[in-house]
Amino acid sequence: MKTTAFLLLCCVSASSVWAEPSKCFESRKGASEVKQRMIGENLPNVKCSPKTGAVLWWGDPFDGTVPMGDMPIADADYNRGKAVVKPRSDKVGLLPLCGETCHTGVLPSGFPVNKNPRQLALMHEAIALDATKLPHGRGAIWCLDCHHPKERNKLIDHRDNPVSFDQPQIMCGKCHGEVYRDWRDGIHGKRIGEWASTGTKRWFVCTECHNPHNVQHGERNRGIADHQPEPAPALPKGIKTADHERRQHGAGRH
């Protein structure tokens, strides 16, 4: 009895002390959100930052993943059998609608399927305010260079074949070849799981970190969205502010 009461107390205090946002984001806000839950005794699926809501720690790195599938590069040197990704399709809210309601290949009737830049219907405002001035490619490319003209819930490869939203790398790699190579070799991008080159890894696909519709962030132009930083470390004993850090740098005068 006492043990039960004690455990109960622990749980109650734990939940009150450890109040974190129950929904966290994995790499950037707005993509790959994950709900906090327990996946074992004392084992949460993720631990999140109380300040920013970013996932800091994965209890199970392969939670909710599917096999990544092949890459269209014949000699791609990675462990095919053990590469997994988290499906993106269900994260993109309107995706099912796009392909079935509006762009079925038949509908909307009379809409051109060519790649010439033009204004889009109002529904796309949230993605691109002015579709004739897309930031990605700065006018060199247009929506249908990436999105399949007939299957709008798919992306497109070099041969006009549809590409799943779960494997955007196949489409992105069309232009970003060097980055794609680094990504295949694990140099670019994020992977979690087992570190051995033969180990199981969850690969983060391009769009989990980069927002393809907004790749330029003002003057920074780093390809990475603005992140709220985690809190600064504690100042050393006796130091009240960090103002001293912003004073005269360098080795002093003369």
Partner: protein, 422 residues
Amino acid sequence: MDKLKKFAVDYVTYVVKGSPVFYAWIAFLCLLILGLLYGTFLHATDGLRYTGLTDQVHDGLYLANFVFLVGVAAAAVTIVFPAYVYHHQALHKVAVLGEMLAIAAVVMCMLFIVSHMGRPDRLWHMLPIIGIYNIPHSMLAWDTLVLLGYLILNFVGGFYYLYKKYTGEPLNNKFYLPLIYVSIVWALSIHTVTAFLLNTLPARPMWHHSMMPIRFISTAFSAGPALIILIFLIVRTRTRLWIDNAAIDLLATIVTYCLGLALFLTLSEVVTSLYANTEHAHGLYYLMFGKHGFTDLVPWFWGSVAANIVAFVILLTPHWRKNYRLLALACVLAFSGIWVEKGMGLLVPGFIPTPIGEFTQYFPTTLEILVTLGNWAVGFFILTVLLKGAIGILLGDIRYVATTPEMATSASAGVVTAPESV
């Protein structure tokens, strides 16, 4: 064996008796030691959290005093060396007092290390055989070795001399002189190794220069004899033991030379570092002028420079040096000036900035100061007791008197003042 027992009894009986001033002094020291006990209790129960130490500046008052006191301990050689190598008569008579000072200083060093350590309860891990002793790689292991050795050398040497003096037997020079000569070299080694402790760390560019050992020795041989001169002057006025002017004058000369050398080395370091003023000079720059708005150590540095220069000027002028009031002032100035320079002035800026460029300050807490004072009080307590006993023996107040007939023959010689042949 009986003689030894009697020596211990006589010694203790003599030492515990004293004037009201003596008791007042001991009571005062005990009060400070109470502070040390309180601080040590807090350190033991809660760790070092009540100190001003941080991950940035993780060695402070405790280690600074350790470094300084190693110098004081080594400085006993400034008496022993002239006494036994140059046969300086005046110093020869009181050489044992220098050894007593060395014992007290080494004990203080050890106390400061214990205060500094995070886990003094695990000190046994350093013992060879049951623990691991990282020789020859760890300088701290070497330092422990030389300090312990020095303590033993001085204890054995000092008390052997006193015991023989007590019994009136002649010294066995085959045993005693090698001990003295070894301890002379050993004295240099303790301070050299302590310098190596700091200057073998290229991560701390302010310390990483080959001048450190000689600078340590020169400062030690000015602060140490300065303290000894002060003690001699006090002994002369407060006890019946008369210490010749020749002894004090020779020590004053040593202080003069060494202080001059120390000032010169400071100047060399400042010019070498600040002429190019690379990133490696940040620590020294912070010490001398402050940096990033942090200036706490600046008055200490210039204060210590001023004290050392004034002391040097007084000492350099023969007329002033012979005036023992001015000499005392110069000794106080030199001692405190070097305490600042070598303690806080050397140790703390070594940590500022950190190796990855963080500027911060170190604020010693009241508890830290309390513990520091307490450790000094223990040292002075030991020093008082040792000096009192030694002076009692030198004066002949404590001496062996035969109580049994079979001892009478040897004891009869003992009553006579021991020959000053050694």
